[in-house]
C-alpha cells in the first residue's frame, strides 16, 4: 500500500480549517481548484503552431496531465480558447464568433508570434494580433513555440483560473473590458 501511495502525486489542498471528519475552506478556492484541473480547451489551430499543439497533446508531452484530456471542438462546452497560428483578417469574424459562443467563464491563450502580433506576416491581409478583436489572457511567444512553452502557457492559465474571484465575471470592470472589444 505504501508504495502505491508514493507514486501518486496529490494536488495541494487549499488552506482551511481541518478537524476530525471535516474540512472547511472558502468555496472560491474549491471551485478554483476544480476548474483549474479540468480545463477543456478548444484548439483553434490554423498553421504550424497547431502542429506544435498536436505534439503537446501527444503522448510525449501529454497535456492530459494537466486535466485537459478532453478537447472541446464545440465552443459551447469549452473553457479555454487556444488560438494557434496566423489569423487572416477574413477569419477575424469567425474567431470572434467562436469566442462569443463560449460560455463564461472563458479564457484565451494566444500561442505563437502570429496570433499574438501578426508575426512575420506584416501585411494587409493578416490580423495584427488577435487581441485586436478578442481579449487575451496569456500570450505564448515563439515561432512556433515548443510544446514546453505551450505547456507553460497553459500552466499560467491554470494559475489564473485557480486564483480568479468567483465574482470577477459579474464585475463592472469585466463588462467594461468586454465592451472595449464591442462584446456585450
Amino acid at each position: 500500500m505504501e508504495a502505491v501511495k508514493r507514486d501518486i502525486m496529490l494536488g495541494e489542498k487549499p488552506e482551511g480549517l481541518e478537524g476530525a471528519g471535516f474540512f472547511a475552506t472558502r468555496l472560491e478556492k474549491v471551485v478554483g481548484m476544480a476548474r483549474k484541473n479540468s480545463i477543456w480547451p478548444l484548439p483553434f489551430a490554423t498553421s504550424c503552431c497547431g502542429i506544435e499543439f498536436m505534439a503537446t497533446m501527444g503522448a510525449h508531452y501529454d497535456l492530459a496531465r494537466f486535466g485537459s484530456e478532453r478537447l472541446s471542438f464545440s465552443p459551447r462546452q469549452a473553457d479555454l480558447l487556444m488560438v494557434m497560428g496566423t489569423i487572416a483578417k477574413k477569419m477575424g469574424p469567425v474567431l470572434r464568433q467562436v469566442y462569443e459562443q463560449m460560455a463564461e467563464p472563458r479564457w484565451v491563450l494566444s500561442v505563437g508570434a502570429c496570433a499574438s502580433s501578426g508575426g512575420i506576416f506584416d501585411t494587409y491581409s493578416v490580423l495584427q494580433g488577435i487581441d485586436r478583436i478578442i481579449p487575451v489572457d496569456v500570450y505564448v511567444p515563439g515561432c512556433p513555440p515548443r510544446p514546453e512553452q505551450i505547456i507553460d502557457g497553459v500552466m499560467k492559465i491554470q494559475r489564473l483560473v485557480e486564483t480568479e474571484s468567483l465574482r470577477r465575471r459579474d464585475s463592472p470592470e469585466y463588462k467594461k473590458m468586454l465592451n472595449t472589444y464591442g462584446i456585450e
Binding site: K89, K90, S117, G118, D122, T123, Y124, S125, V126, Q128
Partner: protein
C-alpha cells in the same frame, strides 16, 4: 520550344489576326506573345479551335502592375495537352480603368482567376457572371497588389528601431 513550333503557333494567329500582334519573344524557353486588347478573347478562341494549336487548357490567368508605364497587364497561359506546348499571351490595359472581356465563356475555369485578378488589381472583366472579391475581405477598398498600396499593415507599432536598440 523549336523555332518551327513557334512559327506554327504565331502563324495560326496571323492567319486571322495579323494586325493584333504587338510583340513575340521567347522568355526562358516560353513563347510569349503580346497582343492588342480588343480581340483577345477571339484570338484565344481561335487558338482553341484551330487543329494546329488546340490550346484547350487554361493553366492560369493573372494581372501584373507596371507603374512605370501606368498600365496593368493581364497574362493568359494556355496549354496544348496533346503536343504538350505552352503559350503565354499578354495584353496591356490602362491603369485608370482596366477593362477587358471575360474569358469565362470559353473556359469556365477562368471564373475564379478573373475574380482574383479583380480582387488584387481591380481589372474589370466585362460579362463575368459574378465579379466580386474572392480572397480578401469584402469591405476592402483597395486593390492590394497594385504597387501604390503599401504591402505592410499600417497599424503595426512594434517595428520601430528603438525596439532593436537602434535610434
Amino acid at each position: 520550344m523549336e523555332v518551327v513550333d513557334q512559327e506554327r503557333i504565331i502563324g495560326v494567329i496571323k492567319q486571322k489576326y495579323e494586325g493584333e500582334i504587338l510583340r513575340t519573344e521567347m522568355l526562358y524557353d516560353f513563347l510569349t506573345i503580346t497582343l492588342k486588347k480588343e480581340k483577345i478573347i477571339d484570338i484565344i478562341r481561335h487558338l482553341y479551335d484551330h487543329p494546329d494549336t488546340s490550346f484547350k487548357f487554361l493553366t492560369t490567368l493573372c494581372g501584373i502592375h507596371y507603374p512605370e508605364v501606368n498600365q496593368i497587364a493581364v497574362m493568359y497561359q494556355l496549354h496544348n495537352l496533346v503536343k504538350n506546348e505552352r503559350l503565354r499571351l499578354k495584353i496591356y490595359l490602362p491603369a485608370e480603368n482596366p477593362t477587358v472581356d471575360t474569358l469565362t465563356g470559353l473556359f469556365p475555369a477562368a471564373n475564379w482567376m478573373e475574380r482574383e485578378t479583380y480582387d488584387f488589381f481591380g481589372v474589370t472583366f466585362e460579362g463575368h457572371p459574378n465579379l466580386i472579391r474572392i480572397l480578401n475581405v469584402e469591405e476592402m477598398i483597395m486593390f492590394p497588389m497594385r504597387k501604390e498600396f503599401p504591402l505592410e499593415d499600417q497599424i503595426r507599432q512594434d517595428k520601430n528601431d528603438t525596439m532593436f536598440g537602434r535610434n
